[in-house]
Amino acid sequence: MKKPSSSPPPVLTTALAASWLLLNQTLALGQIAFAALLALALARTTSALRPLRPRLRRMRTVPGLLLMVLTDITRSSFNVARIVLGLVGNRPVHAGFLDIPLELRDPHGLAALATIITATPGTVWVGLAPDGHSLTLHVLDLRDGIGWIHLIKTRYEQPLIRIFE
């Protein structure tokens, strides 16, 4: 087994420094230096808790994915609101569990997928099969199961595979 390298994880360090600066609302030189020191120290001490590091490839997929997730959140919010208010006419709404075959294996990619699915109203993450080959979701408006599987696989899983694997 490879020994964990002692260099600080770059993405985590940058994210920590950026959030410190954002939190203090400053770009003063002293604060930038302090943010760098703090981020390095925090990243180094916490990397012992999680030695597994994400390998980020294709970062240019990220903005497109974020935009897609934002539009989906907005659209599903209105869909779920319509169901709650009973504005779907006489159409019966069936909620149910849905199994999705999964090709994404990277744990960080799976965490990102869980975040997207939970943040989108109308879908909730139930669990991953023990072998990791299938994901169970609960869907509020399960009219078109195949459509949901297609949507999750093409809109979220494919970009995440491109980013993390």
């Binding site: 959030s19 609302q25 779920v80 208010l85 669990g127």
Partner: protein
């Protein structure tokens, strides 16, 4: 109390977003009452925590930026932390419910 006069391009979208955010949070809460079973009820409050809180945070950024005369964006951190921590509670609740239903089904047999 005198409030600094905010320009119209801040007050109009700010007000609309605040009202929209409040309505979305209320619809989410209403869903808890109206939907029939536990897993379905999990979906409704998400409207409030994502789009609803998003509306309020955008308003906060807009109004604070206009009042202070400089860009204010640390609300983005709230969004980040809400979005990143939400799956943990959602998964725990959902798994607990699935487990409970499995036990109930077994004891009924």
């Amino acid at each position: 109390m005198t409030t600094p006069g905010l320009p119209l391009w801040v007050t109009v979208p700010g007000t609309l977003l605040l009202v929209a955010g409040g309505l979305l949070a209320m619809i989410g809460a209403l869903g808890l009452v109206r939907l029939r079973d536990f897993p379905s009820r999990m979906h409704a409050p998400t409207i409030g925590t994502t789009l609803g809180s998003g509306c309020v945070l955008v308003t906060s950024m807009l109004v604070s930026s206009a009042m202070l005369g400089r860009p204010v964006a640390h609300e983005l951190l709230i969004t980040l932390f809400v979005v990143v921590t939400a799956p943990i509670t959602a998964m725990l609740l959902m798994r607990a419910a699935v487990y409970r239903d499995a036990i109930r089904k077994r004891s009924r047999r």
